[in-house]
Symmetry: D2
Subunit: 384 residues, 4 copies
Amino acid sequence: MIRVVVFGMGMVAAHLLTGVERIKAGLEPWGVPLAKYKLSKGIEDIEFVGVYDIDSYKIGRSVYDICRELIGRDVPVPESLKQLKVSMGIHLGSARGMPIKAQGLESFGGVAEAIDRLVDEFSGFGADVFVNVITTEPAKAFNTIDELEKAVEEGRLSATQAYAYAVAKYARKRGRRVAFINVIPTPIARDPAFVELYRRVASIVLGDDGATGATPLTADILEHLAQRNRKVLSIAQFNIGGNTDFLALTFPERNLMKEETKSSIVEDILGYSVPHFIKPTGYLEPLGDKKFVAMHIAWKTFNGLEDELVINMRINDSPALAGLLVDLIRISSILLEHGVSGTSYEINAFFMKAPGPKGSRNIARIVAYYNMLDYLKKLGAIGL
Amino acid sequence: MIRVVVFGMGMVAAHLLTGVERIKAGLEPWGVPLAKYKLSKGIEDIEFVGVYDIDSYKIGRSVYDICRELIGRDVPVPESLKQLKVSMGIHLGSARGMPIKAQGLESFGGVAEAIDRLVDEFSGFGADVFVNVITTEPAKAFNTIDELEKAVEEGRLSATQAYAYAVAKYARKRGRRVAFINVIPTPIARDPAFVELYRRVASIVLGDDGATGATPLTADILEHLAQRNRKVLSIAQFNIGGNTDFLALTFPERNLMKEETKSSIVEDILGYSVPHFIKPTGYLEPLGDKKFVAMHIAWKTFNGLEDELVINMRINDSPALAGLLVDLIRISSILLEHGVSGTSYEINAFFMKAPGPKGSRNIARIVAYYNMLDYLKKLGAIGL
Amino acid sequence: MIRVVVFGMGMVAAHLLTGVERIKAGLEPWGVPLAKYKLSKGIEDIEFVGVYDIDSYKIGRSVYDICRELIGRDVPVPESLKQLKVSMGIHLGSARGMPIKAQGLESFGGVAEAIDRLVDEFSGFGADVFVNVITTEPAKAFNTIDELEKAVEEGRLSATQAYAYAVAKYARKRGRRVAFINVIPTPIARDPAFVELYRRVASIVLGDDGATGATPLTADILEHLAQRNRKVLSIAQFNIGGNTDFLALTFPERNLMKEETKSSIVEDILGYSVPHFIKPTGYLEPLGDKKFVAMHIAWKTFNGLEDELVINMRINDSPALAGLLVDLIRISSILLEHGVSGTSYEINAFFMKAPGPKGSRNIARIVAYYNMLDYLKKLGAIGL
Amino acid sequence: MIRVVVFGMGMVAAHLLTGVERIKAGLEPWGVPLAKYKLSKGIEDIEFVGVYDIDSYKIGRSVYDICRELIGRDVPVPESLKQLKVSMGIHLGSARGMPIKAQGLESFGGVAEAIDRLVDEFSGFGADVFVNVITTEPAKAFNTIDELEKAVEEGRLSATQAYAYAVAKYARKRGRRVAFINVIPTPIARDPAFVELYRRVASIVLGDDGATGATPLTADILEHLAQRNRKVLSIAQFNIGGNTDFLALTFPERNLMKEETKSSIVEDILGYSVPHFIKPTGYLEPLGDKKFVAMHIAWKTFNGLEDELVINMRINDSPALAGLLVDLIRISSILLEHGVSGTSYEINAFFMKAPGPKGSRNIARIVAYYNMLDYLKKLGAIGL
């Protein structure tokens, strides 16, 4: 059994929670990368024990009701989700400007108190793995534990950072080895402060920013071009969608968070810099969660001539990430069992846009996948 | 020095010959996959010593003049190509129906005599590596050397098969270790008869059907989807162009040759069969050598939803293949030096649409590339 | 009230019948071109009285059941369709090679008898308008009534031609003015024989080959380019789908029917010929009725430079045609009221790929639309 | 003879000047909309007499040299352009932030003096038609001549407005009827102040913002959908390029100018508002003047189903506009001959993104084209 807490009850959480329940009930596990292998933890071992959000409309309601509203037109929502209620999380301004009425635990007595309250609640849940899928927020790395702790005292940190800190504190207090999985751009696995904090409690962070949609595909296509020694001349990549995350990314400071994690692949893979425009481009409500991606790449081929490639996609944003999370939950639990702590580049390199630890290189996903399989085989965590 | 003979003086040969000369003169070797590594044979070691064709308009003329006509509008043609003249090759109906006046050596006394004449000419050239880039032709594998030799006697073989046989005979007669590189669909590296024939003379065949354009990209994209366990629902891939090869592929029996080598990737990589339409689709003269590719792939993602991807490309067909040939020439020469004979799956898997030997599986190109690098490193053929 | 008979109980008929019933029940009439104008006949005036098919699996069953099977996954099927049953139609080999068990009235005593039986049945229905949406079939124009009547005697005509002949005979026998709407490529409105036959009975044929999907859009895009005097260099248009019509078009003689009606727009609109490839390209079952279209157009712009345009579409094939049929039914009934007979270029030019009468020119749809509005306004048939 | 002055010696001017000279020398006039008709003014009647810019690198140099630098890699530049030199224009901050060293006449004594100096220079040129193609600048309409004249006194106007004012003053002073053609977003033909100013001197302004590239095509595609009564659900349109105009549009206040003129088409043509994202999206230097456009449109078709369309283009931005300017120059000269003054909606509706006068509706370009032809025929200005 893997007991999971989710931060952020949005579209990704809705797909993660309903998808896992539906797979338990017989749905084929398409979209779960390692479903075709035999891992020592199965999908049926995942149990969701807690969900946090700061939208006052959601707090206290059942996950079932919220999933029905968010994705009920597209998928059937299992009744088993009626028992799970949304708890109040930490806000710290992470939803500032968004069209919701936000309310955070810290408003009842400060950040330190809110963190302590979370630690108590986590203990009540007996939780093992924590998944962070709140809306993209502005945030910077602390780099040292000292800086981090000073920030906690002064309340100068983002919601994700507060959650990650609370989880580590819970691990220390309960003597429990836990995992924190961060699939938004806030630096956690890229922040040496958090990696060290988790290492000290024999726990693990995985992150940052889950690699779904256009970025990992771009990585593989750039590798494809690099292998043929084609000289890439320019890359344009547009993304537009109608979910909360695209709305959030119309705020420049959030967009910047995303642009950084998206652009780093180019030079990492090609080995030289290329003029590029790779950004979440706009918000268009009717597209909903199925974003539209357009990409143009031009290159110089043999004998001095030029080729070009255009890609257009319609991708369900949230289910893609939810599918990755199913494996990240299982893998993080397995890593803990095998005594891994801190973070794991082998895992992050496949699953994350900005793989931790700090300074790690992006590589083609196809290569990262086989590296990860080798790593898991050596751990003895995978069979066929 | 690697002394190279080319069969088929079309667009690919034109780009290969001018491109190599231009690189010797300082052009950056973009489009040559391994140019960024240090191989024991350099691009400057390549010397073209003979060129064959069966178009009576080309026979006897200088390669310089033909290159000017074929690609002179797009690239400058080096004067160094003025010395090289086109020799008459073997026809055997390989250009039947094409809008040229074809003439083959076999018309002066039969196939066996034509082969002997080629053996003499190869000896005169002192050739090491032979590259086959004639127009796609209908042909079937012989499977045994007996069947092959009977076919030679009776003149029942294709032009490519006759060339490959002549090259092997030349190797035996002169005691010279040689390589035959086949980048069209005719089964040579997939034909156990030819692999064994070459093995006996300590020589090597590489093939079949050079992997440029849409097929290797499709392979990598399918691998990308497979790694995320997305269930591919359908694949449509259209190709249209205006070069001689597209004209040839309007003949159903030639198109079939291509369809086979293109379609085999799907099940090899995904591990299950998917309804697909993958074919050279038509001939449109104004597109010239820069073909237009359109591809549509739909899949099932996590939680039962569907995504889709569309790719459109404008690709210079012939330079892409010419760039691969530069490395195939160098690698085959290196393999001979290291005593490899028969064929080499490690090399074919990256470079070929239908990699020999017979029964070999297609794998993602990104994976095949790293396998090939490992293989070449173990041979001691590659540095950084 | 407009009493309508439909030939061919496939996807188009299913969407036409359910769509009209749903609009009567309150669905917005999107996809019906003139729904925003006030025509003297409303959509609610349409009543379906008979449906014919030659698939023995469908004959005798209710339209409701068949619609549920064909499109029930995508749209709710109104119960009002339970009363309507499928009658046996004329086969004449129109479904030869298709994967169905076909059975035609002519197998019980010849073509002339089958036609007489239809005439009797039409009388029973009291039908006014007849819609032909059978699968694309090979057929040639007769040009004269004599040739047509000789062919009827000898049974040398296609199913569509037999239906159109039966309808004209019914009009003559009952002294009733009727309309025959042909939206498949068989030449009816392009065949002077049928136009004259209908003129003699003060009735009307509209046709041929309903203009949905890529062809009318191509027409408007070519007009767009022509208006800027851009020199079109080449046009490639691929279509692939998974409905019965795409399956039928894998038979070369049927594909040819379609290619003719699709290609005629190019020279008609541009005023010069352009190399083009415009064809139904393949069958891919999982795409179902939602076809994939890819189009590439290149042109020369001012100062000698070249531009290019790529269009990709996912289009529901059958509903698009069904939407046009709703207006064709209303308009043909209105034309009859206003004494129009023979055929009507003003209407065909907007709705049809190959507008009758014979020799008519294709024009940009945007222009044809305004011409049609003017024509209908002059007739007094349209208000705002 | 039509004596033409050009404001803004950038890419558009370079293509306009070289293109007209090349057509005079025999190049086919592709890209000039009305070249296939016989207008009373021919392309050979156009003579360029003056060119203005505020880039100190360009001022005083020959148009030939500048054209060589700007477009000499793509097209041959006629030597006839060696005689024409670039004069110093008015800056007024129009190039603020751009990577050039800008210098304007107003720096030598104020705006009013600069305008007077221009009036003198125009007199020296004996100019008839003035073309404004400076970089997109922020600007607002004045609405009344009083406001405009107050702004001139106080120097509170944009460069385009100063040029347009100077041209009107020149017309009044010399008693000469002239035309001012504005193909950038600054409101001139949409500003009642300028229309009235020109009307008073029996002269004409045409504008605003030349309709090339994606916007007019979008207009025609939306009309295509509207004619079939398809309910458009969303429109996304991305534009990225590497010319000066795209660089300028990375400044938010300039981008806003463009967004307004681009977005107005949607509701004008469809008759209802649709969520849309239509903007110049980014700057990517290697794309140069050949921009990349990606567009996604989704709609509801008959029977409640959804379709979608994706368009990708590579378009040479500047030649397209230059081709339109050739006709705008000819037409404006013809309008003057026929006594037209103020502005002309019939002409603007086809050529402009934001057609003047103020409050004018955008219509489908295909319709606007035929309206314009009718108008010109009635004037007696066009033959076949």
